[in-house]
């Protein structure tokens, strides 16, 4: 532990996974070290949420998840890099450097919790707090070859989560070790009076409930890269070998998930972003003698990134009078439809299984050639479970010819994290995770 703090800044020079790291070189009497995505507010560390607009912002309170980790004896070592406000699948929409994939520095860590996945991959037994809105934990977990768990919506308090899409945001955990995730999920879980959407369900109990059958939606497998397809097929064989029943099904509702998701997410996000006008926190500059709307315009034009502006425009459009019914309200109905289609399948099976991402981590030069629609549709497998609020997990399941990791995503019914954690431990015993080579 002591060792890590000493070499943290050197590691970060190589991977750019943190935007802020602790100045302490001493772990003190802490029991464990952890990191948190910079979309979670931290009392003693700058919180920027990947945006220049929040530069210099030091919140006066800890996010509940961070507070609970600290109460359990954890020490926060740093804030991990991310796409601005969580908008992206590659962590390239960040003005504070782009985190680099530990398996190949020319490739992305995934997004938006890219820095978190990188830290989980590079640092042994490390646990990183991430946030998922549409795949922001599973996607980077898959690209960086680690486990990433997204609990049921409401299992973990969102207090201190800098909102992207409030009805979708969930605090999750990433680690190269499934036991770490099983250990820390109960710590950050529970009802929080500061977040009315936090759960009033029974406490999380880990009783070792197993996954005995999985359903694989065949229509979700279209358009997979060759490597991911063969890696995934091999994993299905491993699952059968573990005595798990694998059944191929079709799930037509999945194709509506992406449009519904992007409408709900951008609608909510665009209202959240309305508070960033350079008045009360973060950056405050510009010509104060301007009329307020001119000042707000200047400020938002200057300091929001392109992707953020794109989502503000999309979201504002989708909820405008006259279009609201056609887009925003309809998407809410689509969401209900998708939830019930999962519920239907989960009556017969313990989980729904797909690859996590349709391809392994792309190179940065490939990413810069992607259109927004191409990069949005990269999330087509992670978005559906996020829309439903069901718990899901990405586990490493194979490597391509270049040694790049890939992951598979398991979704269970609401509040059934127990099954996921039990499965992850069992999978960890049969699947040999290759760790990246880390210098020093």
């Amino acid at each position: 532990m002591k060792d890590l703090l000493a070499k943290l800044s050197k590691l970060n020079d190589k991977y750019s996974m943190f935007t802020t790291i602790t100045a302490d070189k001493d772990a003190g009497d802490s029991k464990f070290l952890f990191s948190a995505k910079d979309g979670l507010t931290s009392k003693d560390m700058e919180t920027k949420c990947g945006s220049r607009i929040l530069e210099g912002y030091r919140p006066v309170f800890d996010a509940t998840a961070i507070a609970k980790m600290r109460e359990a004896g954890g020490k926060l070592i740093g804030k991990t890099n991310m796409d601005e406000f969580g908008f992206g699948s590659f962590s390239t929409n960040s003005p504070f450097g782009v985190p680099k994939n530990p398996y190949d520095l020319e490739r992305s860590c995934g997004g938006s919790s890219g820095g978190a996945a990188c830290a989980a991959s590079v640092i042994e037994y490390h646990v990183a707090l991430g946030v998922s809105t549409g795949g922001s934990v599973c996607c980077p977990a898959s690209f960086c070859g680690v486990y990433g768990l997204v609990p049921t919506y409401g299992r973990v308090s969102r207090y201190g989560v800098i909102d992207n899409g409030n009805s979708l945001d969930k605090v999750g955990l990433l680690s190269s070790c499934p036991f770490q995730i099983a250990k820390f999920l109960p710590i950050i879980s529970g009802k929080d009076p500061k977040d009315p959407t936090s759960c009033c369900q029974p406490e999380l109990e880990i009783k070792g409930k197993k996954i005995k059958s999985v359903a694989v939606p065949e229509n979700a497998l279209d358009g997979l890269s060759k490597d991911v397809r063969s890696g995934f097929n091999a994993s299905l064989d491993t699952l059968r070998g573990m005595g798990i029943d694998v059944e191929m099904i079709t799930m037509p509702s999945l194709k509506y998930a992406i449009p519904a998701y992007y409408i709900i997410e951008t609608s909510e996000a665009s209202t959240n972003l309305a508070s960033y006008v350079g008045m009360r926190y973060g950056r405050q500059d510009g010509d104060l003698s301007l009329k307020f709307d001119d000042y707000f315009n200047y400020f938002r034009t200057e300091y929001f990134g392109d992707e953020t502006k794109r989502r503000i425009i999309l979201g504002t459009y989708a909820r405008m009078a006259g279009l609201r019914d056609r887009y925003y309200s309809k998407s809410l109905r689509v969401r209900l439809h998708i939830i019930s289609s999962y519920k239907e399948i989960l009556k017969e099976h313990d989980a729904v299984l797909t690859p996590t991402m349709p391809f392994v981590s792309p190179r940065f030069d490939e990413i810069s050639n992607m259109s927004p629609v191409e990069s949005y549709s990269a999330d087509r497998l992670t978005v559906p479970p996020n829309l439903t609020g069901m718990p899901h997990m990405s586990v490493p399941c194979g490597y391509d010819g270049n040694g790049m990791p890939m992951g598979m995503q398991i979704v269970t019914d609401h509040w059934q994290e127990d099954r996921l954690l039990t499965f992850a431990k069992e999978w960890g015993a049969v699947f040999d995770v290759r760790r990246p080579e880390v210098p020093l």
């Binding site: 979670l40 507010t41 919180t47 949420c49 929040l54 912002y57 919140p59 006066v60 309170f61 996010a63 969102r158 207090y159 201190g160 989560v161 800098i162 909102d163 899409g165 409030n166 009805s167 009076p193 500061k194 977040d195 009315p196 959407t197 609608s267 909510e268 665009s270 209202t271 972003l273 309305a274 508070s275 960033y276 006008v277 008045m279 009360r280 926190y281 104060l288 003698s289 307020f292 709307d293 707000f296 504002t316 909820r319 405008m320 009078a321 609201r324 925003y328 809410l332």
Partner: protein
């Protein structure tokens, strides 16, 4: 002419709508604030249950339909005093809708909806170069009561508002200075197009603003002009409205459901809440139940609901006629003093009972009531009164000719009064002396 009102009422909760900051007046700007009401990144609003209860009470008072589930919405617009850039308000499934409210027990006014929302902060111009923002008020719970355009005259709108405020005050125990926390947006159309006069406070100003608009719009129409759809302000000093902004189209607030608060199942709560009888309903009931005229009943409740209740108690203790004349007279005249000194209304009932049983005279009852209602001890008063009576009787005994003179000329009573005043050295008020003298004369004339 069509007039509709949107009435904003501040709810008397101790803490703000979504955080625990106090709603009381602060000593300095931006001292009653926290990360939540300042809209710091990462905070979530937490509903103040009391505000929901008040909302339900008002919805019931206005005879609204209350839904099983309600939710909140985000209304997005940019203004420096809006800390979050969004206001949490209600758009669909508000706490109440389709209500009906009777003005003076007569004409029905339809209530479109009643919604809960938070107040923004305040912006203050400071010199000509800067503005200061104070967020102390941000997050204070409000309800907005929206009426259909049912009013036909400014005076009727004023009367509605007067009655509404009295009812609200009673229903949710609004403090007496609560009127400053009631503001109205007044919508008026003389022709086709509607004009909205924003943020008018006070009954008189509502009527003035509407009357001004009526005259202004009528003149424009007579001169062959067109009324523009716009938002106007009201200048209280000059009594005129002025244009604030043109409304070529409805402002688009891009409402979405407030995702941080979720859905509220309020059906059971609403069924468990009963509200006190509002002054308006009480007045109607009094006039019907006791066959007294509406005006008197209105007068009773508008003086105080306590006075109206007193009347009902007295009716039971005596009879309608006695209760009515005394409530209208001495009791109502002294009611404010009585309420201020906090004595038990039971004492009043006792005095009236004694009167109706013939144990005291009208004059004695009057004296006792006045004394009791002023907070003075009735026993001591009676003794004093005894003294006064003795002095008067003694004088009349000694001067029997004066009784005969008074029979001929009422003014002769002044001699008695003059004497008693001199004798008692200003210990009694002349009114008391007059009534006591008359009482004493009753037996002799």
């Amino acid at each position: 002419m069509k007039i509709g009102l949107e009435v904003h009422v501040q709810l008397p909760t101790r803490s703000k709508m979504f955080c625990s900051c106090p709603t009381t007046d602060a000593e300095a700007p931006n001292t009653h604030v926290c990360p939540t009401c300042l809209g710091m990144p990462g905070v979530k609003p937490v509903m103040n249950k009391k505000a929901v209860e008040y909302g339900i009470k008002l919805a019931k008072m206005l005879n609204c339909e209350i839904p099983e589930v309600m939710w909140f919405s985000r209304k997005t617009y940019f203004y420096p005093d809006m800390s979050k850039g969004v206001q949490i308000t209600q758009y669909e499934n508000t706490v109440g809708k389709k209500g009906i409210y009777y003005v003076n027990g007569g004409r029905p006014i339809h209530i479109t909806k009643i919604q809960l929302e938070e107040d923004p902060g305040k912006t203050k111009r400071f010199g000509d170069q800067s503005s200061l923002v104070d967020y102390n008020r941000a997050g204070t719970p409000l309800t907005e009561i929206v009426t259909d355009p049912d009013f036909k005259t400014p005076a009727e709108a004023r009367e509605f508002l007067r009655q509404l405020i009295a009812d609200i005050r009673h229903t949710i125990d609004l403090p007496d200075d609560g009127e400053r926390s009631i503001r109205a947006d007044c919508n008026i159309s003389v022709g086709v197009e509607r004009v909205e006069v924003k943020n008018v406070s006070g009954l008189k100003n509502v009527e003035r603003a509407l009357t001004f608009e009526f005259v202004r719009q009528t003149k424009i129409l007579k001169a062959g002009g067109k009324i523009e759809r716009e938002t106007r302000g009201f200048d209280e000093e000059r009594g005129v409205t002025f244009s604030v902004r043109k409304k070529e189209w409805e402002a688009d607030y891009g409402y979405i459901n407030e995702p941080d608060l979720g859905i509220f199942h309020i059906g059971d709560l609403a069924r468990s809440i009963t509200i006190k009888e509002s002054p308006t309903k009480m007045a109607v009931r009094l006039s019907q139940e006791y066959k007294i005229d509406q005006k008197t009943a209105d007068q009773f409740v508008s003086t105080s609901v306590g006075l109206a209740k007193m009347f009902e108690v007295l009716v039971k203790a005596t009879d309608i006629q006695t209760a009515l004349s005394w409530t209208k007279g001495t009791i109502s005249a002294n009611w404010k003093t009585f309420e201020a000194c906090g004595k038990d209304p039971e004492g009043i009932t006792k005095i009236i009972k004694k009167l109706s049983e013939g144990r005291i005279t009208d004059v004695e009852a009057d004296i006792e009531l006045k004394a009791y209602m002023a907070g003075r001890d009735a026993c001591a008063i009676r003794e004093q009164c005894g003294d006064l009576c003795k002095i008067i009787e003694k004088y009349l005994d000694a001067n029997p000719e004066i009784v005969n003179e008074i029979k001929r000329n009422e003014k002769a009573i002044n001699r008695v009064i003059g004497h008693v005043m001199k004798e008692t050295g200003g210990k009694y008020s002349s009114a008391d002396i007059v009534s006591e003298t008359k009482n004493a004369l009753c037996h002799r004339l």
